[in-house]
């Protein structure tokens, strides 16, 4: 996907609730590229160049790890906010 496509896709998937600004998007993409999580391909589209970003193999593994960390975090927060009633006195 290319930069503009990412912003539009995020907007469409979240029904406009999440709006990524360009000022946040590109520094994040450059950081992930430097970390080896994203790979870059350049192609000529219409009458200009376009930079496509895709997840590397390491990036795909990292995505799974980070999503799992996020799920754990949410589960822990939920149990902190709504603790299960204990039967012990």
């Amino acid at each position: 996907m290319y930069g503009y496509e990412i912003t539009q896709k995020v907007k469409a998937i979240t029904a406009g609730e999440l709006n990524i600004t360009e000022g946040a998007l590109y520094p994040a993409l450059h950081k992930l590229e430097a970390e080896g999580i994203l790979d870059v391909e350049i192609a000529k589209v219409d009458n200009r160049m376009r930079k496509y970003y895709k997840l590397t193999e390491a990036g795909e593994k990292e995505t799974v790890n980070r999503l799992s960390e996020l799920e754990d975090f949410i589960r822990n927060m939920q149990s902190l906010v709504n603790p299960k009633p204990s039967l012990e006195f």
């Binding site: 000022g23 520094p27 350049i42 160049m49």
Partner: protein, 226 residues
């Protein structure tokens, strides 16, 4: 509605005027702005001139010139995108240099005691000086090629700005083998460790400058393939 070559050129020139001179950054900002203009023109049925103005107004804060004294020096000014990218890269470089120098210093200090520090330090000095000569040669060639090239990248710019450091570090490490001259059996393990750590910092920082030049050439070859 697809933009014409003249309209794309108009966006290109405006970006150059606003300080986005580096091809690696400019190509994606140009594509983003062009896609946004095309999409808005289709949705609102407005002319290119009107949409062009409104889109650049939206990008105003992102294209503002800024700097980062601590990471890039007082004289390096560029739009925020460029500064952010290079600051992130510089921070990563410093961490790599510190980590590699610490590993280098620890390994040499331990090995020096196991093998025999005098013999070991002579081999070490000769091989590291040889490697430094290779790095200085690569720096001279890279500085010349990047300076002459009409293809500008953020990494190339930073290399032209900082590449000379390799010569200073080479001079510091060559003149009387300054940091490593204390690496011998007359000194304690800690003193030898610090000598190696200092030399490691000079060596690996110089190596990072070369890898920055390599990044420039890698981006250039990707562009040439298109």
């Amino acid at each position: 509605m697809q933009l014409t070559t003249e309209q794309i050129e108009c966006i290109n020139q405006t970006l150059i005027e606003k300080g986005i001179k580096f091809d690696d950054i400019k190509l994606e900002i140009l594509d983003h702005i062009a896609s946004e203009i095309e999409s808005t023109m289709n949705l609102e049925q407005e002319s290119f001139e009107i949409v062009f103005k409104s889109v650049f107004e939206k990008w105003k804060s992102e294209l503002q010139i800024s700097s980062s004294y601590a990471w890039l020096g007082a004289f390096f000014e560029a739009p925020r995108f460029v500064v952010d990218k290079l600051v992130t890269y510089s921070k990563k470089q410093i961490l790599i240099v510190l980590f590699l120098s610490a590993v280098f210093a620890a390994s040499l200090s331990i090995l020096g005691y196991c093998i025999g520090i005098e013999l070991f330090s002579n081999i070490l000095r000769t091989s590291l000086t040889g490697l430094f000569y290779v790095m200085v040669g690569s720096t001279i060639i890279s500085l010349f090629l990047i300076w002459r090239s009409s293809f500008k990248t953020t990494f190339g710019r930073l290399f032209l700005y900082r590449g000379w450091v390799v010569f200073v570090f080479f001079f510091m490490s060559s003149v009387d083998n300054e940091p490593l001259k204390h690496f011998d059996s007359n000194h304690t393990f800690t003193e030898n460790f610090i000598s190696c750590l200092l030399y490691g910092c000079l060596f690996f920082y110089s190596h990072c400058q070369i890898s920055m030049a390599l990044k420039h050439f890698k981006i250039f070859s990707k562009f040439k393939m298109v």
